[in-house]
């Protein structure tokens, strides 16, 4: 609690002269008592860091990994690996990575020699990586200029009409970023999510799944609905905002439009599902538990459990498999996205990209349509 509070204060402080990322006034957000801006601990810990001093920290981290790592000097390695074993007993057979050094009885000089070669190797790779990073960043900037929806559905429509097929179900992995960064904090992820919803509606895709590991979106549905409504009224004009439905499979809830607008059950332009880590492996575990109970009560036969049965159940619990999954991070990491639902899903992400931008969205659709997208590669 102290930490989140500290963050809230810090944020105010940081953004004192700009716009407020976190507003202390909306106490109805989560209903928590002490701090108005409450994010569960895992999310809060992810908000640390940010892009300040990245270069210095990178160099520090890498050099530390090369030089300040003494676990391989023979005396300590045995104790360490024993500790490893005790800790990992439950999950793995604990094959510690240092068996090599023990088995070949390496002396200290040989060890130092390899460490020095490694330092040289890492140094060269680091220089290459820096160049690559700059190249990718400028490429992304150019792409951002090339593809700019400027808040008009017609422009998006024009981009999409050229494609010979579009996915019927789209999914995206979003992340809560450190508050100090561009597009960070809760406001940032809400903004990203509603931008995506607007693009998806404009592109004519009817289903969108938004995934974030900690379920921040699931916990802030009211804010999300308002943010989507605001964005859509910018895109379509306040008079004809399309209807949208928000589904939270985990709570088995469907919400329509902005809060307070009632349940308009007429045709919706888009159905947005909010998913989190909870809908992935945990849900499969829940299903196993339920099936185990049914089996022990003799209501279900173990041999009747098939891939098809599990598939039907999980489709009901979580939803359908998406055709295309967009990831807005620097290198593909599925972040615990429901495993059952990524069997044949196409992935798209841009290397070293860290922003939710329209260029990634449209290039993802282009890749799905089978166009050649590797411009400049």
């Amino acid at each position: 609690m102290t930490m989140t509070e500290a963050h809230a204060i810090k944020t105010k402080y940081l953004n004192g002269n700009g716009k407020f990322v976190v507003d202390n006034g909306n106490a109805d957000m989560t209903g928590s008592t002490g701090s108005s801006f409450h994010i569960p601990p895992p999310a809060a810990s992810r908000m640390k860091g940010g892009s300040a001093n990245t270069k210095r920290r990178t160099v520090q981290a890498i050099s530390k990994s090369i030089f300040v790592d003494n676990r391989n000097i023979n005396t300590s390695s045995t104790i360490k690996s024993q500790n490893d074993k005790n800790n990992n007993k439950a999950t793995t057979t604990a094959v510690s990575s240092n068996t090599f050094w023990k088995s070949e009885n390496t002396n200290y000089f040989k060890f130092t020699f390899y460490k020095i070669v490694l330092a040289i190797l890492f140094f060269m790779f680091g220089i290459f990586r820096y160049g690559q990073l700059q190249y990718n960043k400028s490429k992304l900037k150019i792409l951002d200029l090339l593809y700019n929806p400027s808040n008009t559905p017609q422009l998006i429509r024009q981009d999409v009409v050229k494609l010979n097929k579009i996915p019927s179900r789209l999914a995206a992995i979003l992340e809560v970023k450190p508050i100090g960064d561009v597009g960070g904090g809760l406001k940032g992820i809400l903004n990203d999510a509603s931008e995506l919803v607007s693009w998806t509606i404009s592109a004519g895709v009817k289903h969108l799944s938004l995934y974030d590991y900690d379920g921040v979106l699931q916990k802030n549905t009211d804010e999300l609905r308002n943010a989507i409504y605001e964005h859509l009224s910018i895109y379509y004009g306040p008079a004809n905002v399309p209807n949208f439905a928000i589904r939270i499979p985990h709570f088995n809830k469907v919400l329509y439009n902005k809060k307070g607008q009632g349940d308009i059950k007429s045709k919706v332009a888009i159905e947005v599902s909010l998913l989190s880590n909870r809908d992935g492996r945990e849900t499969i575990v829940d299903l196993t538990r339920t099936m185990a109970e049914l089996c022990s009560n003799k209501e279900l036969n173990v041999d009747d459990i098939t891939v098809d049965l599990v598939d039907t159940e999980l489709k009901q619990l979580v939803g359908q498999e998406p055709d295309l999954l967009l990831y807005f991070g620097p290198s593909l990491d599925l972040q615990g996205y429901p495993p059952w639902h990524i069997r044949l899903t196409e992935f798209f992400w841009e290397e070293d990209n860290n922003q939710v931008t329209y260029s990634v969205f449209i290039r993802g659709l282009k890749q799905y349509a089978g166009c050649k997208v590797n411009v400049g590669k």
């Binding site: 601990p41 490694l118 990586r129 099936m291 459990i305 891939v307 599925l334 899903t345 196409e346």
Partner: protein, 288 residues
């Protein structure tokens, strides 16, 4: 790396470099412990080079053994390769038969030559729904597993015939038949009943031929947070040790950065440190 060259000692120098490289990587302590491969593009490669499909698969096999050699040398403990999907049974009878035949020969090749398996102490396991296979293929598999079962330094999983969904359901069924009390059923339990249970968790997943899908390969393991997925544009037979070495270097570089980043972040952070965070970084340190 296998280009022809007339310079004397060419191969010697190459293997020396390879050795130096892999041992250096080992010294970083940030080599993936478990690597998964989707070996895609053998047929396309054969078509591209105007040779028979069979030879394309042969080339793919050679490229696999060279890559595995580098991996094991660099300290990878487990490699899992996707040889045959359950979905492949839906192809024509002729094609299925030839694929079966090929896989059977591959398994024999790996163990009978014994070169790779003995040199690196590799235990060969065939994972998947083996009840779908013919009797004589099953026998070969049993022979291969039997021959190498005492090797402990490394593991090679051959997925044959396999799908990720079948693996998950298989694990669920095992858990259910073993009658665990309901409250004991958790993620770890399902994890340990997968075909890859008891092996180090998947760190790196590589797919060739420019397709950006998992195609039902290790969906449970690969979707976890922190698993690096590399999708490459080249066809599998073109994917040599050089490219693999590059990926390993990239992985080690990234890993050693992210392992230490948290620690440094904490040193930098002024007042807002929490017990939870410290625990997290202690966990990270363990793997450093």
């Amino acid at each position: 790396m296998s280009e022809e060259s007339k310079i004397p000692g060419h191969y010697f120098v190459l293997s020396l470099l390879k050795n130096l490289f892999s041992r250096t990587l080992r010294a970083s302590n940030n080599v993936p412990r478990h690597v998964g491969f989707i070996m895609d593009g053998n047929r396309r490669w054969a078509r591209k080079n105007d040779i028979e499909v069979k030879d394309g698969h042969e080339a793919g096999f050679h490229s696999m053994s060279r890559i595995l050699e580098l991996c094991y040398e660099a300290g990878v403990h487990t490699a899992t390769v996707y040889a045959f999907s359950i979905e492949n049974f839906k192809r024509s009878k002729y094609e299925v038969d030839s694929l079966m035949d090929l896989a059977q020969r591959r398994i024999r090749q790996i163990t009978e030559n014994g070169e790779l398996t003995d040199k690196y102490g590799i235990r060969v396991r065939v994972i998947g729904d083996i009840s779908l296979l013919d009797k004589d293929v099953l026998k070969d598999i049993q022979d291969a597993t039997e021959r190498t079962k005492n090797n402990t330094r490394a593991t090679l999983n051959i997925c044959f015939p396999y799908t990720g969904r079948e693996e998950v359901v298989h694990s669920m069924k095992e858990v259910i038949t073993e009658n665990y009390p309901l409250e004991e059923i958790n993620e770890g339990l399902i994890d340990s009943h997968l075909y890859t249970g008891g092996l180090p968790p998947l760190d790196l997943l590589i797919r060739t031929s420019g397709v950006s899908r998992l195609s039902d390969f290790m969906i449970w393991q690969g979707s976890k947070r922190g698993v690096t997925i590399e999708l490459l544009d080249c066809l599998w037979p073109e994917f040599g040790p050089l490219k693999m070495g590059w990926i390993l270097l990239k992985f080690a570089f990234k890993k050693s950065y992210s392992n230490n980043k948290e620690v440094i972040d904490e040193d930098d952070g002024e007042e807002d440190e929490e017990d939870e965070d410290e625990e997290g970084s202690a966990d990270k340190k363990k793997y450093t």
